[in-house]
């Protein structure tokens, strides 16, 4: 167990004069949010199982500033970005993986103009690559015959045109993948983006996450799969609002793979 949760830091790597294959960007949600921490751990288990040589920044990591940028605070965003880039560049980081599509988008698309050039990969893409290259084998039958519907995160899907990697990974669980009527580029937002996660919604008829959960429940799934810690929270709350928490689970793709492998 503890071996599976081994999390080296960049600092330790540097002390040994080594460079890891990849930096795992944990993100603020992944570090502090109780639900998201489970996703982080599941992904770490996968990394260790596949013998991926990775490290985290740990206490040297700070918010990407993504949320500040979407809220309109370009100053705060750039201050965060410049600080993070200084550290990333000092460690000569080349490749980053993260479980958060918002960090993914921000690091991949918005850091280069401020001096941070990295290859940035979302964890669903990374897991997909691990499977494709044979480094990770998914052979558990835990989810065989279960119905899973995948909720596309806006910042992975529409924002960066990645629709296939998470679906390819899901197929490995041998579950039945069912699509919601709004999926891929027409997928409905969970309601958390654009800094909405941190404020009360404006007045309206209903909450976005409830509407999106209704989309998902229409497919009569056993599991709603997500690829974003914020979506996960929103969908979990939506399932509770619909009083379906005993019938439907909300799980990140990393968790599904880790569970399927009995990690």
């Amino acid at each position: 167990m503890s071996d599976l949760l081994k999390v080296p830091t960049m600092e330790e790597y540097m002390a040994q004069g080594k460079q890891p294959e990849i930096l795992f960007w944990v993100g603020s949600a992944g570090s502090f949010d109780d639900r998201a921490k489970k996703i982080t751990k599941a992904f770490v288990k996968i990394l260790n199982t596949a013998n991926v040589d990775f490290a985290v920044l740990g206490t040297e990591e700070s918010s990407t500033g993504d949320i500040a940028k979407r809220a309109g605070n370009e100053f705060l965003f750039q201050m965060q970005a410049v600080t993070n880039i200084e550290i990333l560049n000092a460690y000569e980081v080349k490749k980053i993986v993260t479980c958060d599509p918002h960090s993914f988008n921000c690091l991949k698309n918005e850091y280069p103009e401020l001096g941070g050039q990295y290859e940035v990969i979302h964890h669903t893409q990374f897991i997909n690559d691990l499977i494709a290259s044979g480094r990770l084998k998914v052979d558990g039958d835990l989810y065989k015959g279960k119905k899973i519907t995948f909720h596309d995160p806006c910042y992975l899907g529409r924002a960066n045109n990645e629709y296939d990697a998470p679906r390819n990974v899901l197929k490995e669980t041998k579950a039945d993948i069912v699509e919601m009527k709004r999926h891929k580029r027409t997928a409905l937002c969970c309601g958390a983006g654009g800094a909405q996660m941190f404020k009360e919604p404006e007045k309206g008829d209903m909450d976005v996450n409830v509407l999106r959960t209704e989309d998902a429940l229409e497919t009569k799934p056993n599991i709603i799969a997500t690829g974003c810690p914020y979506c996960n929270t929103m969908m979990t709350d939506g399932v509770k609002a619909k009083e379906k928490e005993n019938d439907v689970q909300v799980l990140d793709i990393a968790e599904l793979i880790a569970n399927a492998q009995g990690l």
Binding site: V7, S28, G30, S31, F32, D33, K37, T40, G58, T59, E61, S62, S63, G65, I67, R70, A71, G72, N73, E74, F75, L76, Q78, M79, Q80, V82, T83, N105, K108, N109, E110, E113, L114, C154, Y155, R158, A159, N160, N161, R185, T186, L188, C189, G191, A192, G193, G194, A195, M197, F198, K199, E200, E202, K203, G204, D205, M206, V208, L211, R212
Partner: protein
């Protein structure tokens, strides 16, 4: 006197095109009120986008019913307008169906036009039914009352009338019917006029001919005042539209400069400003009015044809919030028009009218309801990016007015102090490994 019709025709043409040209100049002037933005990159990709999205209607057909009907109207309208060339030559030189000397080719062309005219008429009628009888929800949102609603219907009536006139003109043209080539549709309309004396027929034919060309000129000039401008502006707008990943929001250079200075350990905070720096107005962050937006965003406002696909996919709008991406574009155009008229009335100078886009047109409530999910951008069939305008206005609210919702201010204070949106210490970032 013999040349009177030719002269009247020439005058109508000059007036029609002259007034249109005048308004196009105004349109360009207004668009140029926007900030400069470099869109000179990736020319081949931009051309491809224009060819695919505007010319090829690739995003229209994502909604198959309206997309298919739109393609018919679009193709029909462009092709039938080849006929206008003949009308102009006939009108100016007093000839009659100058191209009929082409013989069978002419018959084939006119026959093809007639079929298209019927298809356009039918499609436009279905559009009208969708708007007014079936009442497709996106045409009945709160911003679609008064002028926007009427505008949509006027365009459809225009097209119905123009297509009818074209067919009537052919049906009552005795020579054309006698040729019996190309009158595929009009031969069935001709019997309606059976029994009328030839002079009356000629009179109807001339009437239809004149109304047809005058109608086209009026329609051309209607464009500037209408959402129908998209038939022209869809092309530049898809060319200049965003080519970066949708999730990539633009970098504010003005902020980068200041941040670099703040982070530079060698920078002297008390240094005297550089020579000439005094004259520079401090950069305004974000947008509170149309002049703060860039010209591509203003072009987009004129391009928007208010189809509402954006709004019908917007999670905020779907859940009853006030935000409607279409309204953001309509407001931007309305305010830009108002600014333009202000400039016209004040000898080319904008005089402060105590109004602005933010507050007088677009409210904070709308701006804060956006989830930045890009559904509106994905939907737009002509590459409009309403989200970019929302972001610029949020930037103004936050950086110029410190007017973010309290919870967001708390979140941002947390990021500033602890490097996370929650009040957790950065030194605890690795605690999850020990839990």
């Amino acid at each position: 006197m013999q040349y009177l019709p030719n002269i009247i025709f020439a005058i109508a043409l000059i007036l029609g095109f002259g007034y249109f040209a005048k308004n196009v100049k105004k349109l360009i002037r207004n668009i140029k009120l926007g900030q400069d933005v470099d869109v000179s990159d990736n020319k081949s990709e931009r051309f491809k986008n224009m060819a695919r999205i505007a010319l090829g209607q690739s995003k229209m057909v994502r909604r198959p019913v309206s997309g298919f009907l739109h393609v018919i109207v679009y193709v029909g309208f462009i092709i039938i307008n080849i006929e206008v060339l003949e009308i102009i030559i006939d009108g100016l030189f007093g000839t009659h169906r100058i191209f009929s000397s082409l013989g069978a080719t002419y018959g084939f062309l006119i026959g093809f036009f007639e079929i298209l005219a019927v298809l356009v008429f039918v499609s436009v009628t279905i559009f009208w039914i969708r708007r007014n009888v079936i009442k497709v929800a996106r045409f009945w949102k709160s911003e679609m009352t008064s002028w926007p609603k009427n505008d949509g219907n006027f365009i459809l009536y225009f097209e119905m009338v123009l297509m009818t006139l074209f067919l009537v003109m052919n049906a009552t043209d005795v020579h054309f019917q006698a040729m019996n080539s190309g009158n595929v549709i009009s031969q069935f309309i001709a019997p309606l006029f059976n029994g009328l004396p030839e002079t009356t027929l000629h009179f109807i034919e001339r009437g239809a001919w004149w109304l047809h060309i005058l109608g086209i000129l009026v329609f051309l000039n209607y464009l500037y005042f209408s959402k129908h401008l998209h038939i022209l502006l869809a092309f530049p707008n898809t060319y200049y539209g965003k080519i970066k990943p949708k999730g990539q929001f633009n970098n504010l250079e003005a902020v980068t400069k200041e941040v670099k200075m703040m982070m530079d350990p060698n920078a002297d905070p008390f240094a005297a400003p550089e020579e000439g720096a005094d004259d520079e107005e401090p950069a305004k962050f974000g947008a509170s009015d149309v002049q703060d937006l860039n010209w591509v965003q203003l072009l987009s406002a004129y391009t928007c044809t208010e189809c509402g696909r954006c709004t019908s996919a917007c999670p905020a709008n779907l859940t009853g919030k006030k935000l409607s991406p279409r309204k953001i574009m309509m407001d931007t155009r309305d305010r830009l028009e108002e600014v333009g008229k202000n400039i016209d009335a004040n000898n080319g100078e904008f005089k402060d009218d105590g109004k602005q886009l933010l507050g007088d047109y677009i409210t904070n409530e709308e701006l804060w309801a956006c989830t930045t999910c890009n559904a509106c951008v994905e939907e737009c069939p002509v590459s409009i990016d309403p989200l970019s305008i929302i972001l610029e206005m949020r930037r103004y609210l936050v950086m110029e007015q410190s007017a973010a919702p309290t919870e967001l201010n708390n979140m941002m204070t947390n990021i500033e102090n602890n490097g996370a949106p929650w009040p957790y210490n950065q030194m605890d970032r690795l605690n999850w490994t020990k839990e």
